[in-house]
C-alpha cells in the first residue's frame, strides 16, 4: 500500500442497526476500513456476518426503517456519503460507485432490453445523447467479452445465460467509469467454469481500468484467487484484516483459522475427518460487550467474556494498515 496517498474510500466507525419487532439487531458494529486506489479488497464472512449490510449502508441502499445508520463516516474522496442528501447520493450511485449483485436474473429488469439498461446510467449521469450512449454501450459489452455486441443490445435479459447476464451487470456497473466497484457475491450463483471466466474478466478489467473493487464473498477460494487484501467479518465486526498472502499463511483470529481448516482441499493431503466450528453464528441484539465468537472459540478465556476485543496490529504498525486482528488471544508460541 502506498503511504500518504488518499484512499478512495474511507469508512470510520460505521454502525447499522435494524429495528425489528423482536428488538434491535446490531448488524454492523463499529466497522472501519479503507480502500486504496486500484485495490481489490475481499470481504469474507458467513451469512449474517454483516458483510452485505456494511456495503449497502455505505451508499444508502438499505430501506429505512427498519435500517438505521447510527454512527460513522463514509468518505468517498472528501464527501461524507452519510451526510449528503438523497439526490446527491443518487448522483454518486452508478456514477462514482458501481455495483454488481449476486443474482444477475433478479437485478436486471426483464421488461427492458439490455441496451436500454446499459444506456440508462450513461444518459442519467454522463448526459450522453442516445447515439453516443449506444456507441458507449457497444464498447462496454465488447469490453466484458460479449460477442456480437451491437445486435445483442436489443436482447432481453432472459435471452442471456447466467454468465453472460453477469457480464452485462458488470458492463452496467462500469458504464460511468466508477472510482469504486462493489461486487456482492457476483460469482456465487454461477457454475465453477463460468466463475473462472468471470474472475479472469475481472482481473483483466482491473489492469485496463484500474478501479478499486470491494469483492464480497463467502468463498475463500475466490478470495485467494483475486484479492489484494482481505477483511474477515464475524457478527457484524471486522475480526481480521490482512494482505491476502499474510492472511492465508499466518491467520491470527481463531475464526479465520477454523474457517480455513473446515474447507477440504482438492489437492494435497486428504483429511480423514473435517474440522468443524461447533455451534451457530450469533444474532447480535445489543452493542457487543464481549467477543461475539467466544461461544464457538476453542481458545476463549475470561477476558473474552468481559470485553469485546478491539482490533490490534499484528507485529507492530497501525490498525487497518498491515495485518490486524480483533482477538484477546495470541497464537504465538502456542500449538493450535
Amino acid at each position: 500500500m502506498p503511504d500518504g496517498a488518499m484512499p478512495v474510500l474511507d469508512v470510520k466507525g460505521l454502525k447499522t442497526v435494524f429495528r425489528t419487532r423482536g428488538g434491535e439487531v446490531h448488524a454492523v458494529n463499529s466497522v472501519s476500513f479503507h480502500l486504496e486506489r486500484g485495490e481489490l479488497l475481499g470481504v469474507v464472512g458467513e451469512s449474517g456476518s454483516g458483510k452485505s449490510v456494511t456495503m449497502m449502508s455505505l451508499i444508502g441502499l438499505l430501506p429505512s426503517p427498519p435500517a438505521e445508520i447510527r454512527e460513522g463516516q463514509v468518505l468517498l474522496g472528501t464527501t461524507d456519503l452519510l451526510k449528503i442528501s438523497d439526490a446527491d447520493l443518487r448522483d454518486i450511485r452508478g456514477a462514482r460507485v458501481g455495483f454488481v449483485f449476486q443474482d444477475p436474473m433478479t437485478s436486471l429488469n426483464p421488461v427492458f432490453n439490455i441496451g436500454f439498461q446499459i444506456m440508462e446510467p450513461l444518459r442519467r449521469h454522463m448526459g450522453l445523447d442516445k447515439p453516443q450512449a449506444r456507441a458507449r454501450a457497444i464498447e462496454l459489452l465488447e469490453l466484458v467479452g460479449i460477442p456480437d455486441a451491437a445486435n445483442r443490445l436489443n436482447n432481453y435479459p432472459h435471452q442471456f445465460s447466467g454468465g453472460m447476464r453477469q457480464r452485462v451487470m458488470i458492463a452496467i456497473a462500469l458504464a460511468c467509469d466508477p472510482d469504486v466497484l462493489i461486487a456482492d457475491e457476483p460469482t456465487t450463483a454461477l457454475d465453477v467454469t463460468i466463475q473462472a471466466q468471470i474472475l479472469e474478466l475481472v482481473k483483466d478489467l482491473r489492469q485496463k481500468l484500474g478501479m478499486a473493487i470491494i469483492w464480497i464473498t463467502h468463498d475463500l477460494g475466490v478470495i485467494a484467487a483475486i484479492a489484494d487484501r482481505v477483511m474477515v467479518m464475524y457478527g457484524g465486526q471486522i475480526v481480521e484484516q490482512a494482505p491476502v498472502k499474510d492472511l492465508f499463511a499466518n491467520p491470527q483470529h481463531p475464526y479465520t483459522r477454523a474457517l480455513l481448516k473446515t474447507i477440504p482441499s482438492i489437492s494435497g493431503k486428504r483429511e480423514a475427518r473435517l474440522q468443524v466450528i461447533e455451534g451457530q453464528p450469533p444474532i447480535i441484539s445489543a452493542a457487543p460487550s464481549a467477543c461475539s465468537f467466544r461461544a464457538r472459540c476453542g481458545h476463549a478465556f475470561q477476558l473474552c467474556q468481559a470485553e469485546n476485543p478491539l482490533r490490534r496490529a499484528v507485529g507492530g504498525g497501525a490498525v487497518d494498515q498491515g495485518h490486524d486482528v480483533a482477538c484477546h488471544w495470541t497464537p504465538e508460541g502456542k500449538d493450535v
Binding site: 457454475d191 467454469t193 466463475q195 485467494a224 475427518r273
Partner: protein, 351 residues
Amino acid sequence: MFDQPVNNLVEVSDLKMYFPIYTGIFRRHTGDVKAVDGVSFNIREGETLGLVGESGCGKSTVGRALLRLYEPTAGSVMISGENIATLDSEALRKKRPTMQMVFQDPQASLNPRMTLADIISEPLIEHTDWPVERRLERVLELMDAVGLNRRFANRFPHEFSGGQRQRIGIARALALNPKFIVCDEPIAALDVSIQAQVVNLLEDLQTRLGLTYLFISHDLSMVRHIADRVAVMYLGRIAELSPRDELFAKPLHPYAEALLSAVNEPDPNRARRERIILQGDVPSPANPPKGCNFCTRCPKAFARCHQEKPELVEVEPGRQVACFLYEDKKPAVSIGRPEAKTEHNQQGETL
C-alpha cells in the same frame, strides 16, 4: 470404507430421462430435453459415489430417477436385485423404505405446519404398524443419532437453523433403516462452517449404519472428501467415472480436467496458477451438439468428436472415460450399450 466389498447395491444401466417439449397450438410433441441421456454406473455396498457436474448437467435428475421420483424414459435401475424402473406401484411402495433421499433445500423439503416429531414419524406411520409410543421412541432415537436435542421434538421447522433443518431431513431419511440414500446437494444451502458439521454427520452415520450414498454435489473439494469414487457428468452423460484419488490426481477426460482446474483453492499461491478457462456456455440439453456433448467447448476436440458420441469405456483399471483421446488404450470392458451409430436430432430425424 476401505476394504471395499464387491457387491453392487445399485446397478444403473443406460438410464435415460427425457422431458418432452410440446409446442404449437396443438401442443405437438416436438422434441425432448435430454436431461439424462444414457447413463450407466454401479454403486457398491457401503460406498459413497460422488456425482459432480455443473447446473443443468442432469445430476439431480439421475438422483431422482434412481428413486423413481421421475418415471425414467428408458434404462434399468437395479437396487438389490430389483428393477426400480419397472416395479408396479405397490411393489415400489414396499421397496421405498430401503431407499431414501436427503434434499438440497431444507427449508422447502420440510412441511412448515408439522412439528419435528411429526415429520420424522411420517415414514413410520406410512410403512409400519407401530403404536404411537414405539414411534415416538424411534423418533427420539433418530434425533439423538443426528445430534438434535430431544427437547426440540415439538418444535416447527422455522424454529431451526439451516444446519439443524438438514439434520431433520437426514433423520427422516433414516427413519426406516434404509440401505441406500441419495443426498442431493445436502450442503449447498449451508454456510461453510455448518457444511463440515453435516458432512461429518453423514460420514458417521455411514460407518455406523453401513449406508450407501449417492452424493450429488457441485462442490468438488467436498466430494473429494466424502466420496470413494466420483462420476463427472456433462450435459446428461457421464464424462468420467474414477476412484477419488486417481481422479483428483490426474483427471483423464478434458472436461474433468477443466472442471478441477476451475476450482479456487483457499491458498493464494495455488489459486493464482494458470487455469484452463473453458469458452462459452453449456449447450441446451434440448438440442445437444452432434457428436461428443463436450465438443463445442473442448480444447482438445478433433474431427471425430464432432461426428460420433464416445462411449464410457474402461481405460485404466477402475477408470472409465467417455473420450476418443483414450480410444487407443484398449477398452477392457464396454460398459455402455452397444450403440447404433446413428444420431438423432431433437426432431427425431436421422442425421
